[in-house]
């Protein structure tokens, strides 16, 4: 989608970054920095694994109680569950934002260079969002699966017949929810540093070393 500015002297002034090129550049930079990408992703994986395991053990406990027929959920347990979920979300937010902040700030120079070559602010943001989306999605998927398995194992160590009594629908729903939260947070975490970097005068961005 070309953006047209005022035409001057009959020249159609165009600056653009086609989506295909953007995806290519973003994927390449994930691939080339694969170690760095893995470390960023590890933060996301851990955060989402923690969240998912908490959510899953919640579902396990509930399913066991329901099949046991007793709808007498103990009040103390429920509030601990909520508390744990809230903390895990917080861990998730901090972990992911930190990972994205690091991966953007260490590349100010590169961002500055791109701006010198004519990149608009939102090209930079777009590249980082695609990159963050990829890292976030892959990281969250891995994390959610690990967390799910961990939650089940924890349940099995506590109760019998976990797998047969598990409410799969509700467990899967939480799995999907965790992946969405992870991918969403990763993208949101990247927006702020990417926009800040995008707005810097290129000379400053190129000089910034961390």
């Amino acid at each position: 989608m070309p953006v047209d500015a005022k035409t001057q002297a009959g020249i159609r002034r165009q600056i653009k970054l086609p989506n295909r090129e953007a995806v290519k550049i973003a994927l390449r930079s994930v691939r080339i920095r694969i170690w760095r990408s893995c470390i960023t992703m590890a933060g996301i994986v851990l955060a989402i694994a923690f969240l998912t395991s908490v959510l899953t053990s919640g579902v396990v406990a509930k399913s066991i109680q329901q099949t046991a027929g007793g709808a007498t959920a103990e009040g103390g347990d429920a509030s601990i569950q909520i508390w744990l979920t809230a903390i895990s979300l917080l861990v998730c937010v901090v972990g992911i934002t930190n990972a994205m902040l690091m991966s953007v700030t260490e590349r100010y120079r590169e961002i500055g260079t791109m701006k010198c070559l004519g990149a608009l602010d939102w090209f930079v943001v777009k590249l980082f969002l695609i990159e963050a989306g990829v890292l976030g999605l892959v990281g969250s998927l891995v994390g959610a699966l690990l967390g799910f398995v961990a939650g089940l194992l924890a349940g099995m160590s506590q109760y019998d017949h976990v797998l047969s009594s598990l409410n799969w629908g509700s467990a899967l729903l939480r799995l999907v929810l965790a992946v969405l939260i992870g991918a969403g947070l990763t993208v949101v975490g990247a927006v702020y540093p990417a926009r800040r970097a995008g707005r810097m005068p290129p000379a400053d961005a190129m000089r910034t070393e961390i």
Binding site: A5, I15, E21, R28, S29, R33, T113, C116, L117
Partner: protein, 252 residues
């Protein structure tokens, strides 16, 4: 010669009016530019000379629209660039000006070819055309056999040549070259100078180059001497010819 008449007819490609730049570092402020006014006509070949730290790179950043001056005005093609919006500024950087940075500023994760392709992608050229042209440009600077190398796999001089090729990508009207031959051996340095000179002569590209290279002075129309953030003096090459001997003595 009718040079004066021709000069008068040409408009200014670059004009700065009392440009100041102040860097604030904690409590200290440093005036890197203390009011620089220069006028450069379209199609001129200008060398900017001055000791290290005199403000050459800072001035380039101002002229190239890469940083905002703390005071004064910069005009590119008679347009005050402080009045440009983000889009127009990006267009200027992408299409109008080609930069060769002192520190090369290649993108480390991209190959030489990809580095050269990037400005053309931003300019809206198709990927295939951009790659073809980038390959041609790299061949032109003598790197035809290294196009798949990343910057870190190249020597300093080779990186500099990639930076040159990248600066030519969108056929800029102005080339800002910060020490383009600083890392090059005599032969390659001469080739780059010849290349810039050819662009200047044949296509009327305005060249503004910071340099310590005497070979470079030899081809320039005028030399602007910067000292301590101010314009020290401006000389035509014809005036300089007499002085090259003494200059060499001074540098040695």
């Amino acid at each position: 010669m009718a040079e004066a008449a021709v000069d008068a007819a040409r408009e200014y490609a670059v004009k700065t009016l009392d440009v100041k730049k102040e860097y604030v570092m904690g409590k200290q402020t440093l005036m890197a530019l203390k009011g620089v006014s220069i006028e450069i006509k379209t199609g001129e070949y200008i060398s900017i000379m001055g000791p290290s730290g005199s403000g050459k790179s800072t001035l380039f950043n101002m002229i190239g629209g890469l940083d905002k001056p703390s005071g004064g005005k910069v005009y590119i093609d008679e347009v005050d660039i402080s009045g440009l919006d983000a889009f127009e500024l990006a267009w200027l950087r992408c299409r109008k000006i080609g930069y060769i940075f002192q520190t090369f500023n290649l993108i480390p994760v991209m190959t030489a070819l990809e580095n050269c392709t990037l400005p053309m992608v931003f300019a809206g050229m198709s990927s295939q055309d951009a790659m073809d042209k980038a390959a041609d440009l790299l061949a032109l600077v003598g790197l035809g056999d290294r196009i798949r190398h990343k910057p870190l796999e190249l020597s300093g001089g080779q990186q500099q040549r990639v930076a040159c090729a990248r600066a030519l990508a969108n056929d800029p009207a102005i080339i800002l070259a910060d020490e383009p031959t600083g890392n090059l051996d005599l032969k390659t340095g001469k080739e780059i100078i010849a290349l810039l000179r050819r662009l200047n002569k044949e296509k009327g590209v305005t060249i503004i180059s910071a340099t310590h290279d005497l070979k470079m002075l030899d081809v320039s129309d005028r030399i602007i001497w910067i000292r301590d953030g101010r314009v020290d003096k401006i000389e035509r090459r014809s005036d300089l010819d007499l002085e090259v001997g003494s200059l060499e003595g001074e540098e040695a």
